[in-house]
């Protein structure tokens, strides 16, 4: 029996938070103090520091809400679910059920400090522990006047953020985590908005791209004009952009679309032809005409992706889309094309679309991007909402 790590964490050691909605039954100053104490629990055993901001963007937003409050995870009144929080990959925010009787240093009601310390454990990347005495156990144990972190909690959080005592300073000033694996480069920017590491053409008002896909090496690739970029976990990979023609033998510039299929091969589309690469090498007998293998797909498409919702291939062009299922005969049903408005919230004439390694599908157009929620089948809500500037969130601008 022990702790569990969700799988994501913050890349910076100094985190900011704000309390944007207070409970009605406690004084604001009391809530500020108790929540600061709850963050202190994690500060004391890691290199993390937490700063309470009254305005502006922050890493962790805290709200006291009741019932349905916009994230699809409604609270249930007194008792039952007391609060919930989001792992770093999902933003880190923490919500508390306003209907609970939140108390401070009392055996009555529900102790705000203990529940807050638990929820902030989630905001930092900890899942529930099956050690009963752990703070990260899911069940509320009542008020504990001599509260102390369990060793299980200490071991867990130090796996993610190191031990306290050698607090590192950080130069990161961004207030929001970028999508996992996105650039967290210091905010040293040049007048073109880039950070001097080869992403100038992806930044600024010209953030339009040709296509984007996840390669067989699980890295994200961006193609634009005659060049392409590889995106590493931290930033644009050093040494990019590179010439498409130099690295992708036989492949022209200004690509329409690309995706990597489950067979590990990457398919590129331009005009009425497509190219197939295995481990970055062009396969024999390619390029081929779309009619040989992708019959029914129109020429000059806008983009294509393997959709995370069902693993099928979708081609987009203008206000229409086609669903291509290699297992079906014919692969495209007669009911296609359909109108892109079925993908609620997405614009027409997309630039790029791809499924990222976190399982979400992202869509790009004119330097902006949308994240799609496969379950609700519409653009995700998120905080801030979509569309968001692609340069800032994806290309380290």
């Amino acid at each position: 029996k022990r702790y569990a790590l969700q799988g994501s964490r913050w890349r910076v050691k100094q985190l900011t938070y704000s309390i944007t909605k207070y409970p009605s039954a406690l004084k604001t100053a009391d809530v500020d103090r108790e929540l600061a104490k709850a963050f202190q629990v994690w500060e004391d055993v890691t290199e993390l520091t937490f700063v309470h901001l009254r305005t502006g963007k922050v890493h962790i937003e805290i709200r006291f809400e009741s019932g349905e409050h916009g994230d699809g995870d409604a609270f249930d009144g007194t008792g039952g679910t007391l609060a919930h929080a989001y792992f770093p990959i999902y933003g880190g925010d923490a919500h508390f059920d306003e209907s609970e009787t939140w108390t401070i240093n009392s055996y009555k009601g529900t102790n705000l400090f203990q529940v807050a310390a638990h929820e902030f454990g989630h905001s930092l990347g900890l899942s529930h522990s099956d050690v009963r005495s752990a703070l990260m156990a899911p069940f509320y144990r009542g008020y504990e006047p001599n509260f102390k972190l369990d060793n299980d909690d200490v071991v867990a959080i130090q796996q993610l953020y190191g031990k306290s005592g050698n607090v590192a300073t950080t130069t990161e000033t961004s207030s929001r985590p970028l999508p996992p694996g996105r650039a967290t480069t210091p905010r040293v920017s040049f007048d073109d908005g880039s950070n001097g590491r080869g992403n100038a053409e992806l930044c600024g008002s010209e953030g339009k791209i040709d296509t984007m896909f996840t390669g067989p090496d699980n890295k994200a690739y961006v193609f634009k004009g005659e060049k392409y970029w590889k995106l590493e976990a931290e930033a644009v990979a050093p040494g990019y952009p590179r010439s498409i023609r130099a690295d992708w033998e036989g492949l022209p510039g200004n690509i329409d679309a690309a995706f990597t299929w489950t067979n590990g091969r990457t398919y590129f589309f331009k005009g009425s032809r497509y190219w197939r690469y295995t481990n970055f090498e062009l396969d024999a007998d390619y390029p081929k005409d779309l009619s040989e293998g992708f019959a029914g797909v129109p020429s000059n498409i806008d983009t294509a992706l393997v959709w995370s919702g069902n693993g099928k291939i979708y081609f987009f062009k203008g206000s229409q889309y086609w669903r291509f299922d290699p297992q079906q005969k014919p692969p495209i049903k007669s009911t296609y094309p359909k109108d892109i408005s079925n993908w609620e919230g997405l614009p027409n004439s997309l630039d790029a679309a791809f499924q990222f390694t976190n399982g979400y599908s992202y869509f790009f157009k004119n330097g902006q991007y949308w994240r799609f929620n496969d379950r609700s089948f519409k653009v995700d809500e998120g905080q801030p909402g979509y569309p968001r500037p692609a340069g800032k969130w994806w290309f380290g601008c």
């Binding site: 969700q6 995870d73 039952g80 509320y140 009542g142």
Partner: protein, 89 residues
């Protein structure tokens, strides 16, 4: 009472909704009217999984102790972050 418990989880349907809500069963089962099908064996395994996680006797049925623990105030985050995660711990 130090804190007020929510309505006790005493029926199979309530237990199934609880197990679905906190990651032991398919989330679709949170909504009884969804019509999602589930085998008795799946429910039994999910109850055992919950009993194991909560440190209870693993009877596989909604016994009084299990019902009590399912009624405790708790955090709304799911206990299971992806199938089989307990094994990965």
């Amino acid at each position: 009472l130090n804190h007020v418990d929510a309505a006790p989880v005493s029926t199979d349907t309530q237990a199934m909704m609880y197990l679905a809500r906190f990651g032991y069963l398919d989330p679709a089962l949170q909504n009884p009217s969804s019509g999602a099908l589930i085998s008795g064996d799946s429910v039994r395994r999910a109850i055992i999984d919950f009993q194991s996680f909560a440190g209870l006797n693993q009877t596989g049925i909604l016994d009084p102790e299990t019902s009590t623990w399912m009624s405790k105030p708790r955090c709304g985050v799911r206990d299971r972050v992806g199938a089989g995660s307990s094994a990965r711990r």
